[in-house]
């Protein structure tokens, strides 16, 4: 490669409204006008969609042009002279005329339209439209408010047929189940027959609709733009770090929208992050501390009593008999506070944020703490991306969109390694299918580059290659280190891509046994020792050992903070038995989960929008947000809960506000040379051999909209979810019918799932939702498939049936 920087393209001189400017070649006239602060009216134009020039609202006057010029599709030419509505009566007349035509068949039902008050059509009609209509005739009439899926309603009368929604579904998300049908004045947006518009990104079409044609059922008639407060936030359903805006009325979220941040989420949001806010206002929320009373049931208690009870319990046992387990949902501040509390106040290193712990996490994750090399931008620009242990469409949908954009715009070569290709089928360049647990060998072969069959791939790997390892990869022995080594071997960049919003922050806060903030090993705490009063000397246990030892009686107190192992732990049965055996369970949570029901002391925690906080996205991007909603009852953020308990135990951690925690945490969580692998011992899970009746190896994937506490009350969202399914290769389908219910039988039991026969799963492997592992059995296991015992029904997606 030459080290001469590519020559910058020569700028093109143009004149807009008398102003001479220079813009890059290829700039659209509408964008060029924006550069001098002129907003040419538009409906179909969207900067992230390909131009379509359909609405004709942006017509301007260009010198020498035979016809009016649509600014949204016309690229600048040297010495072009453009006159917009600002300086040209002709352009104003063009735009007035198109506005009149747009309103010919528009019902003008603004007073009862959700879009009223924030509607581009309404705004522009008020600005340039005629005060009175010349249209005496009858308008086109359609049946109104038709559901196109469980979440979205379509009003075809209001539609201006700008094709933003259909272009989004084709160009951005790649699930074009919404299309234009018919023609002429009957042209309309529609879905195919009874097939709902099934997409994890469907909500975006509501947000980009320039009129009130597509509206969210969850927001329908709920609020008016002028009586909601718009409060910026950060997505809390996954590790994307997506920038959002919460629209809040009377302290309750009415809707969540994407905020544009080209470095993170462009202008998009997946439906889980968009619609998964209902749990915050759920009537089931924990609103007061609870203590297990004399009768054995949980009773409301004051904060003082609950804090004292917890402090008492923690003081009564030896430090190593205490374990504090968090999930991947704590804010950075909370993660740090809990990390310090455990080591400094309690004196235990038994901390773990993982619900599926594997030894490879301990050797790799602390060594990448604080990394910010791999960003969305880098992923988008990388010519080659290697992906292992990650199905981004299900696990991190906005990363899927980023990859799809890179594939579509930059012809990125995407290499997938592992048994599951999933939705990457559309965009992957090469797939190296492996058996379940067999990724390491393939990744090592790529690194050494001496495998003839892989030559087309190894030839293109290099310094600009990005290796993305999903959080599931550590479940495959030696694969996570092998992925890291692959990046090192080719000189490329490596990123660990967790799913939950707080996982990356937890790594940096030191919520792994044997790992301190910044990924520092216990033995070399560095500046941590200066800030903390003490640091444990011996590494603690991981979550699996904690549960095993709780059953043995060597762990006496388990404090669960924002985690529900009875539902989410990889071996849910082990977790359940542990919580039932252990002397005391303390739980801090939002909802009365199965784990909370087994606790003795319960602290109600604040939801993300009820407090200030920050999350570290998978890129390592730390983004803070302000409080958006009022608190549900007597809830506190988790850092405050541990602060109170520390005080009860006689330690003042010196924090009064979240800012105090941040100030202390920030330097310790920053990237440092002192980071290194944890020497704590990780649990190795037993694996079971296949048997004739259970021949298929399970590759569990957390499906985006599978049952989850944080999706509580999001009725429309859950109704739009595809049915829980099992993916199997055609070679293994063996007489079973795609779309029918099948019984999946594992060592511990069986579960009924909808069968998806797809070549994007390796032969011999089967993808099941992680939630199914509770019934099937944990560890590396095998299952068999059979027709369901209950009447087999074809896949009847219920969405759209309303």
């Amino acid at each position: 490669m030459s080290d001469v920087a590519p020559e910058k393209p020569k700028l093109i001189p143009i004149t807009i409204d008398g102003q001479q400017i220079e813009v890059e070649p290829g700039t659209l006239v509408i964008r060029a006008a924006e550069q001098i602060g002129v907003t040419i009216p538009r409906f179909c134009d969207h900067p992230l969609l390909d131009p379509v020039a359909a609405c004709r609202q942006c017509l301007v006057d260009v010198d020498g042009a035979r016809k009016p010029t649509p600014a949204c599709s016309e690229q600048v030419r040297p010495d072009m002279v453009i006159r917009t509505q600002e300086t040209s009566e002709l352009a104003r007349q063009y735009q007035r005329s198109q506005m009149e035509l747009l309103l010919v068949n528009h019902p003008l039902d603004c007073p009862q339209c959700d879009k009223g008050g924030e509607c581009p059509l309404q705004d522009q009609a008020m600005e340039v439209g005629p005060g009175e209509s010349r249209m005496y005739e009858k308008k086109r009439v359609f049946t109104k408010a038709l559901p196109i899926n469980a979440q979205i309603s379509l009003d075809r009368e209001r539609c201006v047929l700008c094709a933003r929604c259909t272009r989004f579904s084709k160009q951005i998300s790649g699930d074009p189940f919404i299309e234009l049908f018919e023609r002429g004045a009957l042209e309309q947006v529609s879905i195919y027959g009874d097939q709902p518009y099934e997409s994890y990104f469907a909500g975006n079409v509501v947000q980009i609709c320039p009129v009130g044609a597509l509206t969210s059922n969850s927001y329908r008639f709920g609020a008016r733009p002028f009586d909601i407060k718009r409060i910026p936030g950060i997505a809390f359903q996954d590790a994307s770090g997506a920038n959002v805006r919460h629209d809040v009325r009377k302290g309750v979220i009415q809707r969540t929208l994407a905020r544009t941040n080209l470095a993170v989420n462009d202008a998009w949001l997946d439906d889980k992050n968009r619609y998964g806010y209902e749990f915050i206002a759920s009537p089931d929320r924990l609103t007061t501390p609870l203590l297990r009373g004399d009768t054995g049931s949980l009773q409301p208690a004051s904060w003082v009593r609950a804090v004292d009870a917890a402090a008492e319990v923690l003081k009564d046992v030896k430090p190593e008999e205490v374990a504090i387990l968090t999930g991947g949902r704590l804010t950075d501040e909370d993660a740090y506070a809990v990390s310090r509390f455990a080591r400094d106040v309690v004196g235990t290193d038994n901390v773990d944020f993982r619900t599926s712990p594997h030894p490879d996490d301990l050797t790799v994750l602390p060594t990448i703490a604080g990394d910010t090399t791999v960003t969305n931008t880098l992923v988008e620009q990388a010519p080659v991306v290697v992906i292992a242990g990650l199905e981004p469409h299900e696990e991190l949908p906005l990363l899927f969109l980023r990859l799809r954009k890179a594939w579509r715009q930059n012809q990125q070569k995407i290499v997938v390694v592992g048994p599951v290709l999933g939705r990457l089928e559309e965009i992957a360049w090469q797939w190296i299918p492996t058996e379940v647990g067999g990724e390491a060998a393939a990744l090592q072969a790529l690194a050494t580059g001496d495998h003839e069959l892989l030559a087309p791939i190894t030839d293109v790997l290099g310094a600009d290659t990005v290796v993305l390892a999903g959080e599931r990869l550590s479940g495959s022995p030696d694969a996570l280190p092998a992925a890291h080594a692959l990046a090192d071997a080719v000189g490329g960049a490596f990123a660990w891509v967790p799913r939950r919003p707080g996982s990356r922050g937890a790594v940096e806060a030191g919520l792994l046994p044997g790992s301190l903030p910044g990924g520092r090993p216990l033995a070399t705490p560095g500046p941590v020792a200066d800030v903390w009063n003490r640091v444990p000397s011996a590494p603690g246990k991981d979550a699996a050992s904690v549960f095993a030892d709780a059953i043995d009686g060597t762990i006496k107190v388990i404090w669960l903070i924002g985690v529900d192992p009875v539902a989410d732990f990889v071996d849910a049965d082990l977790a359940r038995r542990a919580l039932e055996s252990v002397q005391t369970v303390i739980a801090s949570d939002l909802m009365p989960t199965e784990s909370v029901r087994r606790a003795d002391i319960v602290f109600p925690a604040a939801a993300p929008t009820e407090r200030v906080g920050s999350f570290t996205s998978w890129e390592g991007r730390r983004q803070a947000w302000p409080q958006a909603t009022g608190a549900a009852g007597h809830v506190l953020p988790d850092w405050d809960i541990v602060r109170q308990v520390a005080r009860g135990m006689g330690t003042d951690l010196g924090w009064e506000t979240a800012n105090d925690v941040r100030r202390e945490a920030a330097p310790l969580m920053a990237v440092t040379d002192e980071r290194g692998p944890s020497v704590a011992e990780g649990t190795v899970w037993s694996s079971q051999a296949p048997s004739p009746d259970r021949p298929l190896a399970v590759a569990p994937v957390p499906f985006l909209l599978q049952e989850a506490t944080m999706l509580a009350d999001a009725k429309e969202l859950l109704a739009s979810a595809p049915p829980a399914s099992v993916w199997v290769n055609p070679a293994d389908a063996d007489g079973l019918t795609d779309g029918h219910l099948v019984t999946v039988t594992g060592p511990d039991g069986s579960v009924e799932l909808t069968l998806a026969v797809t070549p994007s799963v390796a032969q011999g492997a089967v993808v099941v939702p992680t939630t199914a592992l509770r019934e099937l059995g944990a560890g590396m296991t095998h299952v068999g498939l059979a027709p369901a015992s209950s009447p087999s029904t074809p896949d009847t997606a219920s969405a759209g049936d309303a």
Binding site: P51, V52, A53, A54, C55, R56, Q57, L59, R66, K67, P68, S73, Y94, S97, Q98, E100, L101, L102, V104, N105, R134, M135, Y136, E137, K138, R140, V141, F142, T143, L146, I148, L154, R156, V160, L161, A163, E179, L180, F181, E182, R183, G184, A185, L186, E187, Q188, S190, I191, G193
Partner: protein, 447 residues
């Protein structure tokens, strides 16, 4: 200028549509002459002939061919636009029915000149009979080695795919045609990129009308000067005129370009029907502005008609007498455009709907004095502002009928009915089966 038979020379031979008949009637001479020649030289012959596209726009065919890059590494595709759907136009139909091999030979010669391995004939879906004739002819041509690999031992290979449209006028617009041919919804594409550079399957593509390709074949056989013996300098050659309306003998007639309209009608068509006098006429199909009896002597070539304020179009002459209401005729055409608008852009989709509504209200006796200006202005607001030329064509009859027959509009609005001498039309205007009005289809959507 007398009638000539160049493209239509085999029309009266009953077996011209068979391989045997075509071969006997001097077929394949162009091909024999062309194979083995330098393709670039052949392209120059077509360019030198001055042949202008017969699909309506009159763009020089040779110039169009010269835009096609020959060195992209991608195949060059030739697409024959046989989606002849405009009211009044039926010249390509008869050519394909009566002399399908002339088209096939023209395609092979043109493809040879363009180094194209495959061509597509996009034929109007309703053209079942011409389609069958073409299918039979293609089968015979393949069997006889005129198509396929190594044509007649020349080393040149070419394949033709016949594709039926699905009933949409818009697919005659070349980029919408390409969209439909690629299997998508027939709506026009943004240009650039132009089809010559990135057309069918993003490859260099030439799109020509049936008559243009047939003429190109003959030009390559006989040379550029032979073609230029007919017609004025800027519109050389002969032209198939398809005449319809209130004339004694409607049909296809081939004349040299520049033949006055009067001569075509009086000599070939036997004049207007008895007792009827010419009132208005469209020189080139429903999308060309109307002319009147005053323009009867206009020479039928691109420039002369443009000078008279209309367009040559496809040479589809539609002749109307003083017993016909220009307003009813305009409504009939508008209904067509309203129905055929693809819906993509606002002015065409909403504008034609609205124009139709206004005309219908006027003819229903509820016209308002301001309607004429509204219609006129509306046509201006549609013309040139739509995505493609379909809507431009739709405004032609509106603008020109107001221009020449404003008093008929004024009479209708003032009296609530048309003048006495207008005869009510049977059939087509009163009940155009194609033109379902949107408001009659309330609530019938796909959802």
């Amino acid at each position: 200028m007398p009638q000539v038979k160049v493209l239509s020379k085999r029309y009266d031979e009953p077996d011209a549509h068979t391989l045997e008949g075509y071969t006997r009637l001097d077929g394949w001479r162009a091909l024999k002459r062309v194979l083995g020649q330098d393709p670039a030289a052949l392209r120059d012959v077509v360019k030198d002939s001055g042949l202008r596209g017969r699909g309506g726009a009159g763009f020089p065919t040779g110039l169009k061919w010269s835009f096609v890059p020959q060195d992209t590494g991608k195949p060059v595709y030739l697409v024959v636009n046989a989606d002849e759907s405009e009211p009044g136009t039926f010249k390509d139909r008869e050519l394909m029915e009566r002399d399908p091999f002339q088209l096939i030979e023209g395609i092979i010669c043109s493809a040879y000149a363009l180094n194209s391995p495959r061509s597509f004939i996009f034929i109007r879906g309703e053209y079942l009979f011409p389609g069958i004739r073409l299918e039979e002819a293609l089968a015979e041509a393949y069997a006889a080695g005129y198509l396929g690999e190594d044509i007649q031992g020349s080393g040149f290979s070419h394949h033709i795919t016949l594709h039926y449209g699905s009933g949409a006028y818009i697919c005659g617009e070349e980029t919408a045609l390409l969209e439909a041919l690629e299997g998508r919804r027939g709506q026009p594409r943004l240009r650039p990129p132009f089809p010559a550079v990135a057309g069918l399957y993003a490859s260099p593509t030439v799109i020509n009308n049936v008559e243009s390709i047939a003429a190109a074949g003959q030009i390559m056989e006989h040379g550029a000067n032979w073609w230029k013996q007919w017609g004025p300098e800027r519109s050389p050659g002969t032209k198939l005129f398809c005449v319809s309306g209130e004339v004694a003998r409607p049909g296809n007639y081939e004349f040299p370009m520049g033949t006055p309209a009067r001569e075509i009608i009086e000599e070939a068509c036997g004049g207007m029907l008895p007792g009827r006098n010419l009132k208005f006429w469209a020189p080139g199909g429903s999308s060309t502005p109307l002319l009147t009896a005053e323009h009867y002597d206009v020479p039928m070539d691109f420039d002369s008609i443009a000078q008279a304020g209309s367009l040559m179009g496809t040479g589809a002459m539609m002749m109307y007498s003083d017993k016909t209401s220009v307003i009813e005729a305009t409504l009939n055409w508008i209904r067509f455009y309203e129905h055929e608008s693809c819906g993509k852009c606002t002015p065409c989709r909403e504008g034609n709907f609205w124009v139709g509504q206004i005309l219908e209200r006027m003819l229903g006796g509820r016209g308002r004095p301001e309607d004429i200006d509204t219609l006129d202005e509306l046509a201006d607001n549609i013309f040139g502002r739509s995505f493609c030329a379909l809507a431009d064509g739709a405004t032609s009859s509106v603008k020109s009928s107001i221009k020449y027959f404003r008093e008929e509009y004024e009479y209708l609005i003032a009296n609530g009915r048309l003048p006495e001498h207008i005869e009510a039309h049977a059939g087509p205007i009163a009940d155009n089966a194609q033109s379902d009005r949107p408001r009659m289809m309330v609530g019938t959507g796909h959802v």
